[in-house]
């Protein structure tokens, strides 16, 4: 569409509407303003609950800026089920000593960071060359913005990005390293240590180098080579790729699917194909950075709603629909609501039934990113739709990745046939990036076939893995909660985050775990809000009960050492026991 056509369109939309007028110039017939219905429409009549809540001070985030909120969402949605323990109510139950000490410790660390910078620049200016301007050139690194990574993250750098070797399955081999100058440089001691792996995304245990999937991968490499050598749109569409796409569509329950070779790019490159300038994206405030990237790249207007809060979403929808596009107030071309199936930092699922209700009422398009929930939630492992018993056709775009549950890499987009046919031609990932490589594709194909039970030699193994994952994750979360730790998340989520709060406890926990041969992932700002540092356990079907018991024992000891057990047990263990596999 060229410039000329766009100009004609805009003229038409603001065309003067001819009204029939009488001799004096007054409008004949029905005055359009007086003709508006005086009784509330069907839309307004359903929202009695929403109308009762007064719209608070402007919580709108600026378009394009997603700030990580410090405080919890204002009120938990009353329609959420009672078994879901909301993160906001958990945070309110924290003893205030913990919060105060967290803030004070941050204050102390920041003051020391600034003092060190000040004196360092005074006495050792050659170490800060990249922060100063010199010879008329601007500084390479922003002084203020790199304070966190230099002075705070840098102190505990040995807890992150630990190098591994070998297969990252239930156990993994870590390369030991030691630092003599406070984490500025590392050197390898040469020792390789086998640790229990509670850090890798290996939900169904498909990260194996032996077994039926590995055999099928080897066979596929011998038949098809290692690469397709071209993009899918040109010469890279092989039979394996077409069959796997069909299988993915059948697995998820939609009509068609599109496979992309990189999980991050699945979001970042396909959201711009769905929406463009003049559309509206309403996304959850704790969405993954790939969704944020894709939204910003598309050029659409972005609005944010409170995490998992259907009422906040509704308020935002009504405000945006009534206002229209930013400056012209024209109606939006499309509204896309972007949520995740399972939020990995919180271990919570989205409130899918409420979102489906809102979708029926307001008619927006729903995009669910099932990166963590596909293969891990639901009785048959079909993701968050299976978990809630919702027809997958009610969600417009289902996206997922193969990294977590299938032991492969890459992602897919699934939806109805017209949408996927459109995406095959218009999405940059389908047209310009290379088709998924053969071994990864073969792994996806064989693991998915095994989960669906279509593999004749291992017909029951898929369901066994799903059941084992459900048992393991529920057991682990229940035991942690019984011990008195503050964990987040819904029961049945394979990701169990445990809140650590204080910045001093984060490296202490990680190093203590490593001393006891457990590898965990600790997360702090900026991936989470500043006071809620947490450790995130990723449970896998390949963990045996003994390994989990060992891990729980060690975590309990560390919790005693670091004073982490401040959750008051209100629910009895019996109540949790009755929630068996669903």
């Amino acid at each position: 569409m060229g410039k000329g056509k766009r100009a004609i369109q805009s003229y038409k939309s603001t065309e003067f509407i001819e009204q029939a007028r009488d001799a004096e110039g007054l409008v004949l017939g029905q005055n359009p303003f007086k003709a508006a219905p005086s009784t509330s429409s069907s839309l307004l009549s359903c929202e009695t609950v929403c109308e009762q809540q007064p719209i608070k001070a402007n919580t709108e985030k600026k378009g394009g800026q997603q700030t990580v909120s410090e405080t919890a969402s204002p009120t938990p949605a009353p329609s959420s089920s009672e078994e879901k323990e909301k993160g906001s109510s958990e945070l309110e139950a924290v003893p205030s000593f913990i919060l105060v000490s967290t803030y004070l410790s941050f204050l102390l660390l920041l003051v020391i960071a600034h003092m060190r910078d000040f004196f360092g620049k005074l006495f050792y200016p050659e170490n800060y060359v990249q922060l100063r301007e010199q010879n008329g050139y601007a500084p390479m690194v922003s002084d203020f913005e790199s304070l966190w990574s230099r002075r705070l993250y840098g102190r505990i750098r040995d807890c992150f990005n630990r190098p591994i070797t070998g297969v990252a399955g239930g156990r993994v081999h870590l390369l030991d390293r030691v630092s003599h100058d406070f984490n500025n440089t590392f050197e390898f001691t040469g020792r390789v240590r086998e640790v229990l792996n509670l850090a890798s995304y290996n939900y169904l245990g498909f990260a194996q180098s032996h077994g039926p999937c590995a055999d099928k991968v080897e066979q596929a490499i011998r038949e098809n080579g290692l690469t397709h050598g071209s993009t899918r749109a040109e010469a890279g569409c092989s039979r394996l790729l077409a069959e796997t796409e069909e299988m993915v569509a059948r697995f998820v329950g939609t009509e068609a699917a599109l496979i992309v070779s990189m999980g991050y790019a699945t979001n970042a490159l396909n959201i711009p194909a769905l929406v463009s300038k003049g559309c509206l994206i309403i996304s959850d405030e704790l969405n993954h950075s790939s969704l944020v990237s894709g939204a910003r790249l598309s050029g659409a207007t972005i609005r944010v709603f409170g995490h998992n809060n259907a009422h906040s979403l509704e308020r935002e929808l009504r405000r945006c629909i009534s206002q229209g596009q930013p400056r012209t107030h024209r109606p939006w071309k499309k509204i896309l609501v972007v949520v995740e199936g399972l939020y990995s930092m919180e271990g919570e699922t989205c409130c899918l039934p409420e979102l489906i209700d809102l979708r029926r009422k307001y008619g927006f398009y729903l995009f669910v990113d099932e990166a963590h929930s596909i293969g891990a939630l639901g009785k048959r492992g079909r993701g968050v739709c299976d978990h809630f018993g919702v027809d997958p056709r009610e969600v417009d775009v289902l996206m997922g990745t193969f990294t977590k549950s299938f032991g492969a890499a890459g992602g897919y987009i699934a939806g109805n046939r017209a949408l996927i046919d459109y995406m095959r031609l218009h999405s940059h990932s389908a047209v310009y990036s290379e088709a998924m490589s053969v071994p990864v594709l073969a792994q996806v194909s064989s693991s998915m076939r095994m989960i669906m039970g279509e593999d004749r030699e291992h017909a029951l193994e898929g369901q066994q893995r799903l059941d084992q994952l459900a048992i393991n994750s529920r057991y682990f979360a229940r035991r942690l909660r019984e011990m008195g730790f503050m964990t987040l998340g819904d029961p049945g989520s394979p990701v169990v985050p445990l809140l650590l709060f204080s910045l001093g406890k984060i490296p202490a926990f990680s190093r203590e775990c490593l001393r006891r041969n457990i590898a965990v992932v600790v997360v702090s700002y900026p991936a989470t809000s500043i006071i809620t540092g947490r450790v995130r356990f990723c449970i896998s079907a390949s963990h045996t009960r003994e390994e989990l018991d060992y891990a729980l024992e060690q975590v309990s000891e560390i919790g005693d050492l670091l004073m982490l057990k401040f959750h008051k047990n209100t629910t009895t263990a019996a109540g949790e026991n009755t929630k068996k596999l669903q």
Binding site: S101, L108, A508
Partner: protein, 66 residues
């Protein structure tokens, strides 16, 4: 035994206040500042609290009587 529990208490103190993340010379400086301020507080209390509290009680009794 006492040593073990002292070490454990010290570890808990360091981890709660965030001193765990600092290098050892920074820890000495921060602990030194905290000890110095405590010492100052105790000195002031010991020197001035008896006379100060007696004068407060006198003032209060004067207000009550008049």
């Amino acid at each position: 035994m006492v040593f073990q529990s002292l070490k454990r208490l010290n570890h808990q103190y360091e981890v709660t206040t965030g001193l765990y993340m600092l290098e050892s010379w920074e820890k000495y400086i921060v602990n030194g500042i905290i000890c110095a301020s405590f010492a100052l507080l105790i000195y002031t209390a010991v020197n001035h609290l008896p006379t100060h509290s007696v004068s407060i009680v006198n003032q209060l009794s004067n207000y009550a009587a008049s």
